[in-house]
């Protein structure tokens, strides 16, 4: 199994470790609910070093990424981050990612851990099969450690360790700076819906950065957070997770990701299939559901209307903030847009589920 540079720290902290797509990762330290609430009320520190980083550079980097990804890079400036996706020609998703613009000819893609090899191979093949020659692709996944510092007091904690003016780093912007004497990419991004930062440093510095952050953060309520709470935090904000809301079989425009799918920007991989599907009318749509009685929806559970299955749950959990079962579900468009009552099949029960405006937790 692969390990991050922080593996020893997680074990010392007594984390429960799990095999997460081939990575030995902490699923929880003190408990999912306590960790979840810490991020919502104070702050949490996540080891996300398993995420992959792919550098794309060269005179044709912009053109290539404009063709390879769904979002529009045209208005991006240096120091800006963009949420985007790689798609197949079918319109299905290879991966979702954040794209960092360092310069017009240099970008870093932060991709899902279990997809990083696939993504890199996909980009290499794409380059081979097109005319983008003035372009260098480097898989730098092993070179970086990545920590996510998230929560309402995240900025207060980080400010104790850096002279970089954090107020100058707006949402979805980044700067390179020193944190606790460690060279770091300070990115105001995250996967929790709270204010916070994703910090990239050299793999060898990852453990020291973690320890320094914990040391100054502890008195402000900073807790280490595992993958369990990472999932409940993102789901309360209805953020898509690869393998659930988006897969090779689901187009971003079906998964409420039309906002990162710029069909008018010009040609890109998957665009024709999506235009065609849109013209024909999308057959299914991602909706949010909240259970009206007790129960926990889980991915794969059927969504029913009038006793007929009309879709399925892509992600579900008990929301620690709302103390209710919440779910994202892919259902037939006509049903999604109607007000027919919906149920989620949980074992032998059919539990009434209300359509909910997103996000679940504001």
């Amino acid at each position: 199994m692969k390990i991050t540079p922080l593996n020893q720290i997680h074990r010392q902290l007594g984390a429960r470790m799990v095999d997460f797509g081939g990575w030995d990762m902490p699923v929880q330290y003190s408990g999912v609910i306590a960790e979840h609430m810490a991020v919502r009320t104070t702050a949490g520190l996540f080891d996300v070093s398993h995420m992959g980083e792919i550098e794309v550079s060269g005179a044709q980097a912009f053109e290539f990424l404009q063709y390879a990804t769904t979002n529009d890079l045209a208005n991006l400036t240096d120091g800006q981050v963009q949420y985007t996706a790689l798609c197949y020609e079918t319109g299905g998703v290879v991966d979702d990612l954040t794209l960092y613009r360092f310069a017009a000819d240099r970008y870093l893609l932060c991709v899902n851990a279990s997809n990083s090899d696939k993504d890199f191979a996909w980009l290499q093949d794409l380059q081979k099969n097109t005319d983008f020659n003035d372009l260098t692709l480097i898989n730098r996944s092993d070179e970086y450690a990545q920590l996510a510092l998230q929560g309402p007091v995240a900025a207060n904690i980080l400010a104790k360790l850096t002279s970089t003016d954090l107020s100058a780093i707006k949402f979805y912007r980044f700067k390179e700076g020193m944190v606790a004497g460690i060279k770091t990419i300070i990115s105001r991004t995250g996967y929790t819906g709270e204010d916070g930062f994703e910090l990239y440093c050299a793999a060898a510095d990852g453990a020291a950065l973690w320890q320094e952050l914990m040391k100054v953060g502890e008195s402000l309520g900073l807790l280490p957070i595992g993958l369990g709470a990472r999932d409940t935090l993102r789901l309360e904000k209805a953020y898509a997770l690869y393998g659930h809301e988006i897969t090779a079989e689901i187009m971003p425009i079906e998964a409420r990701l039309a906002w990162i799918t710029k069909l008018k920007k010009g040609n890109f991989v998957g665009r024709d299939a999506m235009l065609k599907a849109k013209q024909a009318g999308l057959s299914r749509k991602l909706i949010a559901l909240t259970l009206t009685t007790s129960g926990v929806p889980r991915d794969g559970y059927p969504v029913l209307s009038g006793g007929r299955q009309v879709g399925y749950v892509t992600s579900g959990t008990m929301s620690p903030s709302l103390r209710k079962g919440i779910a994202l579900a892919l259902v037939e468009t006509a049903v999604a847009e109607s007000d027919e009552p919906l149920q989620i099949g949980i074992r032998k029960r059919q539990v009434l589920a209300e359509r909910t405006a997103l996000p679940f937790v504001k």
């Binding site: 699923v27 929880q28 408990g31 999912v32 609910i33 369990g228 007790s294 926990v296 889980r298 074992r347």
Partner: protein
């Protein structure tokens, strides 16, 4: 980890308290610790007949769904009505507030198949 001496235990990490021909059943401290924060509990109804080794309920943590198995055969004579509203009792008080059901034994002899505390501790250490 805390395992009361007066209880009997199963390999599925349930505890059993025997009082004449009625047994009280719950999950052990080890089981609740493994599950993590418990957020949902499904129990049988009073009057249900349980078969030994068959599922009688479900315990769900934030991350996982786990079946709970009947350690003995018999009729459900009482269920902990508080648990569905306070599933966290299974974490906070697995042997007291977190008891799940009471079963009227069909055959008291089956209790011989359960582990005592020493055997269960050894079982947990190997697990």
């Amino acid at each position: 980890m805390d395992f009361p001496e007066e209880l009997k235990y199963t390999e599925d990490h349930e505890w059993v308290l025997v009082e004449n021909d009625v047994v009280t059943v719950g999950i052990t401290n080890f089981a609740q610790d493994q599950l993590g924060d418990i957020v949902f509990v499904e129990l049988p109804e009073v009057g249900d007949m349980l078969e030994e080794g068959k599922t009688f309920g479900v315990v769900e943590s934030v991350k996982a769904v786990s079946d709970v198995y009947a350690p003995v055969a018999g009729e459900v004579v009482e269920v902990n009505e508080v648990l569905p509203d306070e599933p966290e009792a299974l974490n906070n008080s697995p042997y007291e507030a977190g008891w799940m059901i009471k079963i009227k034994l069909a055959d008291p002899a089956v209790l011989d198949g359960l582990m005592n505390v020493t055997a269960y501790k050894e079982f947990v250490e190997k697990d």
